[in-house]
């Protein structure tokens, strides 16, 4: 199983217990690739996961940064009024996954450096249909320099 799918399954199972009340905000940063061309697909995938963990579809987003610099971040606004900041950055030799999920009764943290122990990790970035709409909105926002709606279908 790809790492991000495993992480998703793990968090979904934990969140089903409502350990932090209702999720209201998320900081998710992914430094998962050495390929500048994969930064946006990774960001779209991370946003899609963020949406699932917050339990609400992302309606608007604002993206900034540069593929050349190896760092792109997005401020996302889900339909339920939550907030997410998600970043995709070049790993620069050390894959890192950091996540702070804030609920109205506590916080949940995930910090991992997959592969730092020398074992191979399946870190494929596999696109889903939802990722495509997010990816398009990300690209429009980077182009316009302002917030953009996520247009689906």
């Amino acid at each position: 199983m790809a790492y991000l799918d495993w992480l998703d399954r793990t968090l979904q199972a934990k969140l089903a217990e409502k350990p932090v009340g209702e999720p209201v905000a998320l900081r998710f940063s992914l430094a998962a690739t050495e390929d500048h061309g994969l930064l946006i697909p990774a960001l779209a995938r991370a946003l899609s996961l963020a949406s699932a963990w917050l339990g609400s579809r992302i309606e608007r987003l604002y993206a900034m940064g540069s593929l050349h610099d190896g760092s792109v971040s997005v401020l996302a606004e889900p339909a339920g009024g939550q907030t997410a900041i998600v970043s995709s950055e070049l790993a620069r030799g050390a894959i890192a996954v950091r996540l702070l999920l804030i609920g109205n009764h506590g916080t949940l943290i995930w910090e991992d450096s997959p592969g730092a122990d020398g074992l191979k990790v399946d870190f494929r970035i596999e696109g889903r249909s939802e990722d495509q709409w997010l990816r398009e909105a990300l690209e429009r926002s980077l182009e316009s320099g302002d917030s953009e709606e996520v247009r689906r279908g």
Binding site: G21, E22, V24, A25, R27, S29, A31, R60, Y62, M64, G65, S66, D69, G70, S71, S73, V74, L75, E77, G80, G81, Q82, T83, I85, S87, E89, L90, A91, R92, G93, A94, A96, R98, L100, I102, N104, H105, G106, T107, I109, G145, D146, S147
Partner: protein, 385 residues
Amino acid sequence: MADRGQYGVLLVTGGASHQENYGPGFQADPRCRIIGVADEAQADGRRKLLNRSLAEEMKVPLLPDLDAALRRRDVQIVSVCTEHERQGRVAIRCAEAGKHLYIDKPVAGDLAEARKAASIVQQKRLRSQMFTTLNLPYAQRAMRIVRSGWLGEVRAIHCDLMFAKGHTGSAPLGKARKESYPPRRFLFPDAKREMFNIAVYSLALIRWLTGRREVRSVRAVTGNYFFNENVQRDFEDFGALAVRLDGGLTATIMCGRIGWMSHLSGGHNVVRLSGTRRNVAIDASQPRVEVASDRPPWQIPPRDPDDPMGFWRSTQQKAGIRPRPEWYVPELLPVRSDQSLFIDCVEQDREAECTIADGVAVLEVLMAAYKSAATGKVANLPLSA
């Protein structure tokens, strides 16, 4: 310098403000002598009582007339820590009186007043400093890493700063907060504007780490996720900012007061730096000792009707709040008080790491953030006068 080889420090406003920390900070420095606690003559009855209470606690005189106190020749430095609705005008009066200015963060609630105060400080060649966390180990560590060149060129900075205080769960959820611009009120006894109150630290840190790079735009959202008190006051308890600086550098900030049980220490405080060669995450709570034991668990402090959010040192002391026992975070680098660092600047006639002019730049970003949150669009800087 004042009599007996000491700087005379006037505390402008007293209890139930951060003066409860700043005043003792000055008092602990042997180069300082506290002249008294003063305030505007028109301060309200509650404020006058709080001023008296700090003066009594510190065993210094209460000086009820600010203008008279500012005319005193034995006052060289003022520590201004008023409610932000009036902090700008008070700072202007203190600067006009020719006093070096130590000022609470953010520097004012009104950008025009803040600019005027900074301009007087510059004109009169006074020294000034806004309170920040730049002296704390995590910030010093971040600066050392940046200066070492180990990261390469810094291209992005991400700051999370949450305060683990307050009894959460009372705010209704499910819809986005409607922000207003410009903000006019910032503080009630039971609520603060938390983006204003907390993002100021991260913005000051980002400017400092980047050599005072100017912010060119900000996109921000605010939220009401935790406290009904904030909902009732129409104050956000949470904020998120995406910031572009000169030279294409970007920064993001998440901040908020998110509840007593949200962290095993004072609150989540992480700075991530993304460089052209490496990335690094600096957690203010690491390295740390972690303890798991059968000691009695830490208890949420009871709600104090005078300070339900745990804003002030005095109410926390009254409630007997103790540090949580699970983590012990040792002092990684030696810490000098922010007040002593300011005295160094006055003594050596040099600029502080965060002057009132830096504070004005930060305030402008905060105001732009409120504008962005209110309009749903990116706000460009500089803001018009």
